[in-house]
């Protein structure tokens, strides 16, 4: 499964407020459900998300079982300088995923 869809504007003016959108493929199994044979399905969720902009942390989120599958997030930051925005997700069973996007600030 292609796991992440990132949307960051390729170009922005210095000081502009930009929207960042992330969509990640994940089951987000709550740990409260039973399968057809009556066995509890173990929890399997994303627990942490961190976004860094040229190495500096600009956004962090904790995820919980009530969050739907394939979580979508939108958050905002100020375009300060050209560089790379890195996204990292971590979760149960050693789950780890990352993605990055370039931005040019003029």
């Amino acid at each position: 499964m292609s796991s992440a869809l990132i949307n960051v504007p390729a170009r922005a003016k210095r000081g502009e407020i930009i929207a960042i959108k992330t969509l990640i493929s994940h089951l987000m199994e709550t740990g409260f459900r039973y399968d057809s044979t009556g066995v509890l399905v173990p929890r399997n969720i994303i627990t942490d998300f961190v976004c860094t902009y040229n190495g500096e942390e600009i956004f962090r989120a904790g995820f919980f079982p009530a969050i739907a599958a394939n979580p979508f997030m939108i958050f905002y930051t100020v375009a300060t300088e050209s560089g790379t925005i890195v996204f990292q997700w971590a979760g149960d069973n050693g789950y780890s995923e990352s993605a990055s996007a370039k931005i040019v600030v003029e």
Partner: protein
């Protein structure tokens, strides 16, 4: 005594006549006039519509991306990819999903999009068919159907489809299941009315496979139909059965001319 006998005979005759009338005119519900046809999209809340409209927010796009990867990946003993025969899907698959289900010449039977993909796998890639509702099959369907986005559903004029369209239509208007319901009772007689948290749509399959929020997953039209059937407390037909494909075909024929919006998001 004689009077009673003749009365019961008369009742039996009347009942059988009524039966004949009902059979002869199964379309008690009127087909929706083309001016009144609405995509299921129009019955959704604005937030769900916004989720579908934004490719960065539409979860179905995860499957479209995966489908693109699979399209170009070699598979099976023939070690061929879809692209090795069909080239760029953005060109070769344009409008293809809008004419499915269609009639397969070689097998002389009705096939829908998932059947077509699996025929390609077994005949040309020497690969195992993908299981129904598997991520891989849904991803390929989503990627292929995406290429018809914005195009009208075509009215397939193949005469060999006619008996299948008729069979699908009979199923659409026929009552079934413990609740003794027909598809038409909801989707023609009561569309637009509230059913639990959502409005009853007209049931036009414009955007399959769909990302259904209730499923938290992508799913095919066959899955949707099976879900409807179990809601009617009818025994759902098996995946890949001719009955389901005939119903798919009838629904596509009924939605002819409407714009495709794969991958659609539905509540």
């Amino acid at each position: 005594m004689n009077v009673q006998v003749s009365l019961s005979r008369w009742l039996a005759l009347t009942a059988s006549l009524m039966g004949v009338l009902v059979i002869a005119n199964p379309t008690l519900s009127a087909e929706i006039a083309s001016a009144d046809r609405r995509s299921d999209y129009e019955f959704m809340r604005r937030d769900t519509q916004a989720m579908q409209d934004d490719d960065a927010a539409n979860p179905g796009m995860l499957w479209v991306l995966e489908g693109e990867t699979l399209w170009n990946a070699r598979a099976g003993e023939a070690n061929k990819s879809c692209a090795d025969c069909h080239g760029d899907a953005r060109v070769s698959m344009k409008g293809i999903a809008s004419v499915y289900p269609s009639f397969d010449d070689k097998r002389e039977k009705l096939v829908d999009l998932e059947a077509r993909i699996n025929i390609c796998r077994t005949d040309h890639q020497n690969a195992k068919p993908l299981p129904f509702e598997s991520k891989e099959l849904l991803a390929l369907m989503a990627y292929v159907a995406r290429q018809s986005n914005g195009m009208p559903i075509k009215s397939n004029t193949d005469v060999r489809l006619k008996p299948h369209i008729n069979a699908g239509q009979r199923m659409f208007y026929g009552r079934q299941g413990q609740l003794n319901l027909s598809c038409a009772q909801c989707h023609e007689d009561n569309w637009g009315k509230q059913l639990a948290g959502n409005k009853v749509p007209q049931g036009h399959p414009t955007g399959y496979p769909i990302y259904r929020l209730e499923w938290q997953n992508l799913g095919s039209l066959q899955r949707r139909l099976r879900t409807c059937l179990s809601g009617m407390r009818a025994q759902p037909y098996e995946y890949g059965s001719v009955e389901l494909i005939e119903l798919e075909l009838y629904l596509m024929w009924r939605a002819r001319g409407m714009t495709m919006d794969t991958p659609a998001v539905r509540p």
